[in-house]
């Protein structure tokens, strides 16, 4: 698969909404990776990813944990943004796919962080979620680095 830029189905991180569907196609740069945790057969690793519009927490699973490093630019297809162990995370899920398409050359912002927002069901449509309030402007797990030289 050869991917360049954004295709029509891709969305910006500022527009992702929690849902039970694996409907998210997006592109981001990996800013920081936490420790890989092994729980039985499962290997997982929480990370901070971002594009030029927003940041979000990403959950890597299994082989994905060792395949990506900070600075990698990644395309996600059929991803899912939902609650996992009380964390609101973006992940590939069973049907999703992650592909590294480059390194370094992507600008990003660390605020807003879509995982640090309190979402509630839409009063008019309980299947959809809307933003109720901001929990934190930036990730509390991966705060921004101090900005001196």
């Amino acid at each position: 698969m050869v991917i360049e830029g954004m295709s029509d189905s891709m969305i910006l991180l500022k527009n992702i909404v929690p849902a039970a569907q694996n409907n998210i196609d997006t592109k981001f740069i990996l800013l920081d990776k936490g420790k890989t945790i092994v729980e039985g057969h499962n290997k997982m690793c929480l990370a901070l990813v971002a594009d030029k519009t927003a940041a979000v927490h990403f959950q890597f699973w299994g082989d994905e944990c060792d395949a990506f490093d900070s600075g990698d630019i990644i395309c996600l297809t059929n991803g899912i943004f939902s609650y996992q162990h009380k964390n609101l995370v973006l992940r590939a899920g069973k049907r999703g796919k992650l592909v590294k398409v480059g390194e370094f050359t992507m600008a990003y912002v660390e605020t807003p962080n879509m995982s640090e927002i309190h979402w509630i069901p839409d009063p008019n449509n309980s299947k959809k979620y809307v933003q109720e309030y901001v929990i934190s402007l930036v990730s509390r797990i991966f705060p921004p680095l101090p900005s001196d030289m």
């Binding site: 050869v2 920081d32 900070s70 600075g71 395309c75 590294k100 370094f104 600008a107 680095l145 030289m149």
Partner: protein, 352 residues
């Protein structure tokens, strides 16, 4: 199924260039064996042929002689198309080429040089740039020993160049920490790699001149990147060489032929380091005064003139409003300030 040119790790997308060469090869494979067609190819067919034969030469070395003959027989543009493709392979794929493919590529380069294919010099320059400074791996040493001294060694690899230009064009000041960490991890992580910082500073001063739009925006300025690179140096003689790289264009500066953009980062680094990083200002000024006295004792007069005209031009063009910010800075010693006053006016600087 065609053999691969590069080692693509799992989860990584195949590079577009490699994919297009592979597809060309797969579509033309039957016609790459004799007897060869004698019909004149259309421009599209010719382009496809060049891509296919390049892939074949890199992956089918056992019949390289056949492919080379086929190439020589078919070429109608002085190998210009072929050289462009070869250059692109070097530029975009060299670091990740499989070892045998690298060997075939170097053999191919020899062949192209032998027939003086149009654009062979660009291929050689591109190969030279892949010699990352201070990387003493076998492949690089091999390239070094084959290099004609005619070609000035461009020691900034294409990847370094891409990342540096991206930093200075797209990343905002105050938000460059992560990108700096990634750059250092990739290019500066081993103790011997810090020598390349000298080349990086030369590159930033001379080969990357931001537009006015960028200069006036909140994008990371060149002086800030250079300030950070200075902190990456562990050894004092590397620091000295980096400072020399920074002031090199000042030494014989002549505004009628030299570019103000080459001297701008040094003065801005000195000024913007006041007061928070005053030790940088101090270190740079001390170095400059010492340099003027010692770089070339026989030509000291010329050097003093060059540095003075550099300062004067920077003030005249408004890069800094005046030198007062330095000459009246209380955190700098009186001796240093006096030395700067004398230097910037063109008077001879005595040993302090």
């Amino acid at each position: 199924m065609a053999l691969r040119l590069t080692l693509t790790p799992p989860f990584e997308a195949e590079k577009e260039l490699e994919a297009s060469l592979r597809k060309a090869f797969e579509s033309l494979k039957p016609s790459l064996r004799p007897p060869f067609s004698l019909t004149i190819p259309t421009p599209h067919q010719y382009a496809l042929f060049n891509a296919a034969i390049l892939h074949a030469l890199l992956t089918e070395p056992h019949i390289a002689k056949t492919h080379i003959k086929h190439l020589h027989a078919t070429v109608t543009d002085g190998y210009a198309t072929f050289c462009t493709l070869l250059h692109d392979v070097v530029h975009h794929l060299y670091p990740t080429l499989l070892a045998p493919v690298k060997t075939h590529l170097l053999y191919l380069t020899h062949e192209i040089v032998r027939v003086l294919g149009i654009g062979y010099d660009a291929v050689l320059v591109s190969l030279l740039r892949q010699i990352a400074a201070a990387d003493f791996g076998d492949g690089n040493l091999w390239l070094c020993s084959k290099t004609s001294s005619r070609y000035s060694l461009l020691r900034i690899s294409p990847e370094m160049e891409t990342q540096l230009r991206f930093l200075l064009t797209n990343v905002k000041l105050g938000h460059q920490r992560r990108h700096q960490i990634w750059f250092a991890r990739k290019f500066l992580s081993e103790p011997d790699r810090e020598f390349v910082i000298v080349d990086i500073v030369r590159f930033i001063c001379c080969a990357h001149h931001p537009t006015n739009e960028i200069i006036q925006s909140d994008i990371v300025p060149r002086w800030a990147l250079i300030g950070w690179l200075l902190t990456c140096c562990r050894r004092s003689h590397v620091v000295a060489n980096v400072k020399l790289a920074l002031f090199y264009d000042w030494l014989f500066f002549d505004e009628s032929v030299d570019n103000i953009m080459n001297i701008e980062p040094a003065v801005l680094l000195m000024v913007h380091s006041i007061p928070q990083y005053i030790e940088i200002t101090r270190g740079l000024l001390e170095f400059l005064l010492h340099l003027v006295d010692n770089y070339d004792v026989e030509r000291k007069g010329m050097i003093v003139k060059g540095v003075a005209s550099a300062f004067q031009l920077l003030v005249r063009k408004g890069v800094i409003r005046s030198l007062d910010v330095l000459t009246s800075c209380p955190a700098l010693s009186p001796g240093l300030r006096e030395g700067l006053v004398r230097l910037s006016s063109g008077a001879k600087v005595g040993s302090s």
